[in-house]
């Protein structure tokens, strides 16, 4: 009897793993090439915009709050997990204070908590703010609440991941597709334009997860056919998970040449994994955003470069856009807050330093 139980459990597990492995060979990677970035209509289409800087769009922020003075703008972010969000918060609250509006800033504990975020959005809308700024963890899931906001005539401003819907009057964000594309070009140049690379990123449900992954993958496919992306793993931005996933990738691909970490937590995990396996400096790592660990790694050479967004700019501009919306101004479809590629050579430039955070 004991024997049948052992075999039962083992056979069951093996059957499942076999099925999954079979699925994996057909279902891995290959994210939709029809990735059209919903939020980047205004930004330059190709990442072969070779400059290190992504063009910030020509949006002119308001200098006076007008009809929004003294009113409340509710900001719902994607989380508080990374220092990035604290920088967005600072940018938003400082701008609000400067222009004389009240801003509330809330976010769920981490970027997997979709339902928590929806509850926060619901509460915010019920309090009838002058405007709502929203960075969706899952664009489609927020549909009903957005309709609610619209029927109450509360303008919705999307930021960071934005919202995949026609309801937001604008989206304040980085052109992640172009930024990730630029990153792909940089990584390719560093590994001699051929070889194996892998991606560790936070998720595949939020716009930033999707656009960064697709931007990177599509650029590699289009411009660097000799580079093979052997694995894309999702670590929810958790350091330990991302590190373990990166190690699994390195085990499966001993000749791996490069890693792309799609957000702060992901690249931090990759850096830990490289350190633990003694591969620091042997495998090229490129990342996203900043944070103390990444900045140290870039200075030491463990990481070869990263894309920084402008989190303070994102926070400030979403408050600006909210004020403009309350005052009835027409806003462009997207407000591109710009991105920069930085590495050891330019990390100390003042314009780069201004957008980095620890």
């Amino acid at each position: 009897m004991k024997l049948t139980r052992i075999t039962g459990l083992a056979a069951g597990s093996m059957a499942l793993v076999l099925v999954a492995s079979a699925c994996s060979s057909s279902a891995t990677t290959a994210p939709s090439a029809a990735a059209g970035a919903p939020a980047s209509a205004a930004a330059p289409a190709s990442a072969a915009a070779s400059g290190a800087v992504g063009a910030a769009s020509a949006y002119v922020p308001p200098t006076d709050a007008g009809a929004a003075k003294g009113k409340t703008i509710a900001i719902i972010s994607k989380g508080e997990q990374h220092a990035f969000w604290q920088a967005v918060k600072k940018g938003a609250l400082d701008e609000a204070a400067k222009l004389g509006v009240t801003a509330t800033y809330q976010g769920p504990a981490d970027e997997t908590k979709v339902n928590d975020q929806l509850n926060m959005l619901q509460t915010a809308i019920s309090n009838n703010p002058a405007a709502v700024c929203f960075a969706a963890l899952d664009s489609k899931a927020a549909g009903d609440l957005l309709n609610q906001a619209q029927s109450k005539n509360i303008p919705v401003i999307g930021f960071d991941s934005g919202v995949d819907s026609t309801i937001p009057v604008t989206t304040v964000a980085t052109d992640n597709i172009a930024a990730a594309g630029l990153e792909a070009d940089k990584l390719a140049a560093m590994i001699g334009d051929s070889g194996k690379v892998a991606i560790v990123i936070h998720d595949q449900t939020s716009q930033t997860g999707i656009t960064r992954r697709d931007g990177f993958v599509n650029e590699m496919k289009a411009k660097h056919p000799n580079i093979q992306i052997v694995s894309i793993q999702y670590g929810a931005g958790d350091h330990q998970k991302s590190a373990d996933l990166a190690k699994g990738i390195m085990t499966a691909n001993p000749d791996l040449k490069g890693f792309f970490g799609g957000n702060e937590g992901s690249i931090d995990g990759v850096l830990d994994a490289l350190k633990e396996t003694g591969n620091t400096g042997k495998i090229v790592a490129v990342g996203y955003d900043s944070g103390q660990q990444q900045l140290d790694a870039i200075n030491s050479g463990a990481e070869s470069g990263a894309i920084t967004q402008n989190p303070i700019g994102i926070g400030a501009k979403c408050v600006d856009a909210a004020i403009d919306a309350v005052n009835g101004k027409t806003l462009p479809k997207t407000i591109d807050t710009g991105f920069y590629w930085f590495d050891k050579t330019n990390i100390n430039d003042p314009q780069i330093q201004a957008v980095l955070y620890k």
Partner: protein, 328 residues
């Protein structure tokens, strides 16, 4: 004495059931190792086995700690987020306050222990159901971790490079010291559970709390102590996690409690209480890490990794129920 023979034969009956579950778990682990070695060519390497050990370090500690709690028939959902609280305590003492590292380590352990004490008090004295009490503490710990750290990670750079170097250094067989910390913790736990009065009372509370109370055991005190012991292991896990990322992450650990409980249950610890072993828990923890690592090395999509891990846990619990049913 009569009570001695009665309890010895009872322990023997319990033990045989536990040995079965432990053998099953060990058997499944070996089969998984062989299986992955076959289908994923790079799996069977020293490097990969080291990776599995490293990946198990924190979960192994959490699972060991929670084994005590589950044996008493309770549960502790705060162990995951408790690591964030312990990490932040360590970070504040060793980095923000600039005190010596060893004080920081003690702070981490004490922070974990304090959370355990609160859990114990809520459950033993105020008679809250363990699920509810520890669920509440789960939120309190992650909240306090963020409050105390102002929602910012605390980095262990200068003057504490020794921290990461010590724990992640690998002078013995190229295996990081965190793994030896895990084994050390498991040995201490084994001694506690099998060779001390505390261990005997832990089992007694789980198999028949009323009988223990009537025999004059101070049930409240020993039950609270069980949660404190669990809390200290949580503190240790927080230290290990911080060592790995050289930082105290105020949002870490969410969901970690599930892996720990799964490891304990797979290893033969019964959720109904009264049964469990440290050896079994460790096997369970390795089984989960092996499964995860193997699936990731084999490049199985994330979605399927979740499904398979869940099904393995369900299978293990089902076997546990079958075994107890066949004995009853």
């Amino acid at each position: 004495m009569q009570t001695a023979t009665a309890s010895t034969s009872r322990i023997r009956t319990l033990a045989s059931g536990e040995y079965v579950q432990r053998l099953l778990a060990l058997g499944a682990l070996i089969i998984l190792l062989v299986f992955f070695s076959i289908i994923a060519p790079h799996f069977a390497s020293l490097e990969n086995y080291r990776n599995i050990l490293t990946a198990t370090a924190s979960n192994g500690l959490l699972a060991t700690g929670v084994t005590f709690v589950i044996i008493t028939g309770g549960i502790d959902l705060s162990i995951g987020t408790g690591t964030a609280f312990a990490s932040v305590a360590l970070g504040i003492v060793a980095v923000n306050l600039g005190l010596p590292l060893w004080l920081g380590l003690i702070a981490g352990l004490v922070a974990g222990g304090v959370v355990g004490l609160i859990n114990g008090a809520l459950i033993a004295k105020l008679k809250l159901p363990p699920f509810i009490a520890t669920l509440g503490m789960m939120y309190v710990t992650i909240g306090m971790a963020q409050v105390l750290s102002d929602v910012h990670p605390i980095y262990f750079t200068d003057p504490q490079p020794a921290f990461n170097g010590f724990f992640m250094g690998n002078p013995v067989a190229g295996i990081p010291n965190t793994v030896w910390v895990m084994f050390g913790g498991a040995i201490v736990a084994w001694i506690l559970l099998n060779k001390t009065v505390f261990g005997r009372y832990t089992f007694a509370l789980g198999s028949n709390e009323e009988a223990a109370r009537l025999s004059g055991v101070n049930v409240d005190r020993w039950k609270a102590l069980v949660y404190v012991v669990c809390g200290v292991f949580v503190g240790l896990a927080g230290i290990v996690l911080s060592a790995r990322s050289s930082s105290a992450q105020p949002s870490q650990g969410q969901g970690y409690e599930l892996d720990a409980i799964a490891a304990a249950v797979i290893g033969g610890t019964s959720l109904a209480g009264g049964e469990g072993s440290i050896v079994g828990t460790m096997i369970g923890a390795f089984l989960i890490s092996t499964l995860r690592t193997g699936l990731s090395v084999d490049n199985v999509p994330q979605q399927w990794q979740y499904v398979i891990t869940g099904l393995v846990v369900i299978g293990a619990v089902w076997l546990d129920i079958q075994r107890r049913r066949s004995r009853a």
